[in-house]
C-alpha cells in the first residue's frame, strides 16, 4: 500500500525491538512504551492475534451492495478481501487472492458481476468465492492438466465468517469469535442501534487518506476527551463541546476495548466558557463567528441524549455521529507507522433533499479536510514523528490516575488505560516486575 512519508520512514532499531524485548513498564496502567507504536514484530503479532483473531472486523455497509452480484473491494486488517452479495442475497467475504498463483483478481473498487475471473490464467470463482472453473483442467488431448484427484472444492478462496447488524457488515477469520452482539456487548449495541436502527441508509460518498501514525492511535484519540477542547477550538467556540457540558467517555465493561465519546450540545450556538476554563485553553477565540450559521443547525433525529457520539468498535470501526453528519470510518493498518482511513459518509433513504444538503454542509466538520478531522490527523502525525527516533521512549497517561473505563469528565485518560490492559492480555505482553 501507498506510504506518503517514505522519506522519513526509517525507524531506529531501539524503537523496533523484537517481541522478546517488548516488556511493558512496571507501572503498567500509567505508561505506554513507544514500541507499541513502532515495532514491526508487535505489528505482525497484532495482525495475527487481533485482525485475524477473535474479532469482528467492519467491512462494508449493505447499502453499498444492495443487489445480487454487487461487490466491493475491502480490507480485513491489512488483508485485501472482496465483499459480495450472492443470488440468494447473502453476503460473502473472501480474500482477494487467487488460489492458483496468488493474483489479486478483483481490481475494481466496486461493481456488479456474475462471477470473478482471475485475469492471469482465468480461474473463475462464484459469488461466494468457490472455485468454479479451471481452463484446460484435463489438459489438451488428455495431455497435461490437473491431476485426477484435483477437486475444485478444495481450492476456493479463503472465506471468512460474516455477520450483519442493521445494514452493517462484519467479517472474522476465527471460528471462535462469539456472535456479533455478544462481541459488541450490550451498551455498545444500544448506541450502535441509534444511527443503525434498521432504517435504510443512503451512501453519500467516500474519502480516503493515509495517516503516518500507528493504527491504535486512532482508537486512543477517540478515548481521549482531554484533547477535544484543547486541540479543537472549533468545537469549543461553536458550543459543540464545552468544558462542563454533559458528556461521557464510555468503555465496554467486559473488555474495555470498544467505547464511545459522547456529548450533548447546549441550545446556544456559541459557547459560554468560564473565565478560568478559557485561561486553560490557548486555542479558544471569543471573536470567531460564522457568517453562515446553517452549518451549526442541529436537527434532532434520534431518541438519544447525545448530539454527538463517536464510537470505536475494536479493532477497526468508528461510527461517527456529530450532530447530523454521519459516517463510518474503517481503520486499515499499514505497517507499524502508517494506517489508511476509509471514510464512508451516509444519510437515510427517506431524507428530504434539504436534509441531505444539511448533512453535506455539516460534513465540513469531518474527513481529511474537516474542521475537526484535519486537526486530529495532523496531531496523530506529530505523535508518530515524535516517538520514532527520540531518545526517550515512554508516554504518560496519568490523567485521572487510578481510574479505568468509563469517565464522566473530560480530563481523563481512564479509557486509554482500560484499552491497553485488554491489549496486553490479547498480545500476551509481559509487564516488568516492580523494583523492590
Amino acid at each position: 500500500m501507498y506510504q506518503s512519508q517514505a522519506v522519513i520512514g526509517i525507524t531506529n532499531a531501539r524503537k523496533n525491538p523484537p517481541l522478546a524485548q517488548c516488556v511493558w513498564p512496571a507501572d503498567a496502567l500509567n505508561n505506554i512504551p513507544d514500541w507499541v507504536y513502532t515495532s514491526q514484530a508487535i505489528y505482525d503479532q497484532e495482525i495475527e492475534r487481533i485482525f485475524r483473531g477473535e474479532t469482528w472486523n467492519f467491512v462494508a455497509l449493505e447499502a453499498e451492495i444492495p443487489n445480487p452480484g454487487d461487490y466491493k473491494r475491502g480490507y480485513v486488517g491489512a488483508t485485501a478481501v472482496v465483499i459480495v452479495r450472492a443470488e440468494d442475497h447473502t453476503i460473502s467475504v473472501f480474500e482477494n487472492r487467487c488460489a492458483h498463483r496468488g493474483a489479486e483478481f478483483c481490481r475494481a473498487s466496486h461493481g456488479n458481476t456474475k462471477e470473478f475471473v482471475c485475469p492471469y490464467h482465468q480461474w473463475s470463482y462464484d459469488l461466494k468465492g468457490n472455485l468454479q472453473g479451471v481452463p484446460f483442467k484435463r489438459g489438451i488431448n488428455k495431455v497435461g492438466g490437473m491431476p485426477p484427484d484435483f477437486r475444485n472444492a478444495e481450492h476456493g478462496t479463503r472465506q471468512l465468517r460474516v455477520a450483519t447488524r442493521n445494514g452493517v457488515v462484519f467479517a472474522t477469520y476465527s471460528d471462535k469469535t462469539p456472535p456479533l452482539e455478544a462481541y459488541m456487548t450490550k451498551e455498545i449495541v444500544e448506541e450502535f442501534d441509534v444511527p443503525f436502527s434498521g432504517k435504510k441508509l443512503k451512501i453519500l460518498g467516500y474519502c480516503r487518506n493515509e495517516l503516518p501514525c500507528n493504527w491504535k492511535m486512532y482508537h486512543e484519540n477517540l478515548k481521549d476527551p482531554y484533547h477535544a477542547t484543547l486541540l479543537h477550538s472549533f468545537l469549543v467556540v461553536f458550543g459543540l463541546l464545552v468544558p462542563g457540558i454533559k458528556s461521557i467517555v464510555f468503555a465496554d465493561k467486559e473488555h474495555g476495548r470498544h467505547g464511545y465519546m459522547a456529548s450533548a450540545k447546549p441550545d446556544e450556538i456559541y459557547a459560554t466558557v468560564a473565565a478560568d476554563d478559557k485561561a486553560e485553553m490557548r486555542s479558544f477565540s471569543d471573536s470567531l463567528r460564522l457568517r453562515d450559521e446553517r452549518f451549526l443547525d442541529y436537527v434532532r433525529e434520534f431518541d438519544s441524549p447525545w448530539s454527538a457520539n463517536m464510537m470505536t468498535m475494536w479493532p477497526n470501526l468508528i461510527v461517527q455521529r456529530q450532530m447530523n453528519t454521519m459516517g463510518v470510518r474503517q481503520i486499515i493498518p499499514n505497517g507499524p507507522n502508517s494506517m489508511v482511513m476509509q471514510w464512508t459518509m451516509f444519510g437515510y433513504e427517506d431524507d428530504t433533499p434539504e436534509m441531505t444538503r444539511h448533512r453535506l454542509r455539516q460534513g465540513n466538520l469531518m474527513g481529511p479536510s474537516g474542521f475537526l478531522g484535519l486537526e486530529d490527523n495532523e496531531a496523530l502525525k506529530f505523535v508518530q514523528e515524535g516517538i520514532r527516533n527520540s531518545s526517550t521512549d515512554n508516554n504518560v497517561v496519568k490523567l485521572d490516575a487510578g481510574h479505568q473505563g468509563t469517565a464522566r469528565n473530560l480530563i481523563s485518560e481512564s479509557c486509554i488505560r482500560s484499552l491497553y490492559q485488554y491489549y496486553r492480555e490479547v498480545m500476551d505482553i509481559r509487564v516488568a516486575e516492580k523494583a523492590a
Binding site: S4, I203, L204, S233, D292, L360, P368, E375, N377
Partner: protein, 171 residues
C-alpha cells in the same frame, strides 16, 4: 459509469475560445498566486455571492455521490472556511504550489463560461520532500462582474485516491 466525466466537445469556436482562455488564465494566475502565498483570507474574493465550491474524488464524481472533502454553498460558507483555516485550525506549516494545465473552454452563454482546467497541487512540508498532494481537474462555471471573472461554481475533482494525511488549504 463513464458518462458523468466523459469527454465533452467544446461548443466554442477556436478564436473565441482562445480569447476566453486568456481571460481565465489571468484569473487563475491571481487565484493560485493568492493561495500559493498561503493568503487564504483572499480566497473568497474569487467567488460570486451564490457560488458553490466542492472538492471530491473522481470515484465520488463517477458514482454521483454528493459528498465533498470541502463542501460550500454560498460565499458566506466559503468565507467561513477561509477564516477557520486562517485562525482556528491546527496543522503543520506547509507550502502549496498549484501547477495548472491548459484550460478548455466548453461553453459560453450571455452570462456564463464553463471550462475545465487540469491541475497538480504540490505540497512541501517543513523538512519534507515536495510531493504531489492532489492531481485533478477544475470543473468551473464563471460569471462576469464588470471587467472581472468570478467563480459561480467550482468542482475540484481529484484523481488522487489516498490523500496524504489531510488537505489543509483550499485548492
Amino acid at each position: 459509469m463513464k458518462e458523468r466525466l466523459a469527454y465533452a466537445r467544446t461548443a466554442v469556436a477556436p478564436h473565441r475560445a482562445a480569447e476566453l482562455r486568456a481571460e481565465i488564465d489571468a484569473f487563475h494566475a491571481e487565484y493560485c498566486a493568492a493561495l500559493d502565498a498561503n493568503d487564504v483570507e483572499r480566497w473568497p474574493d474569487f467567488f460570486s455571492k451564490e457560488a458553490t465550491y466542492r472538492i471530491t474524488s473522481r470515484q465520488n464524481a463517477l458514482l454521483d455521490m454528493p459528498v465533498g472533502l470541502v463542501y460550500c454553498e454560498g460565499l458566506d460558507m466559503i468565507t467561513d472556511r477561509a477564516l477557520a483555516v486562517a485562525h482556528s485550525q491546527m496543522f503543520a506549516p506547509r507550502h502549496m504550489l498549484h501547477v495548472l494545465g491548459i484550460t478548455r473552454v466548453l461553453q459560453e452563454t450571455d452570462r456564463t463560461i464553463s471550462a475545465q482546467t487540469p491541475f497538480i497541487l504540490m505540497q512541501t512540508l517543513v523538512e519534507g520532500p515536495t510531493t504531489v498532494h492532489l492531481a485533478g481537474i477544475y470543473h468551473d462555471h464563471f460569471v462576469r462582474e464588470g471587467e472581472r471573472l468570478l467563480i459561480a461554481s467550482r468542482e475540484v475533482v481529484h484523481d488522487t485516491e489516498i490523500l496524504d494525511t489531510a488537505l489543509a488549504y483550499p485548492v
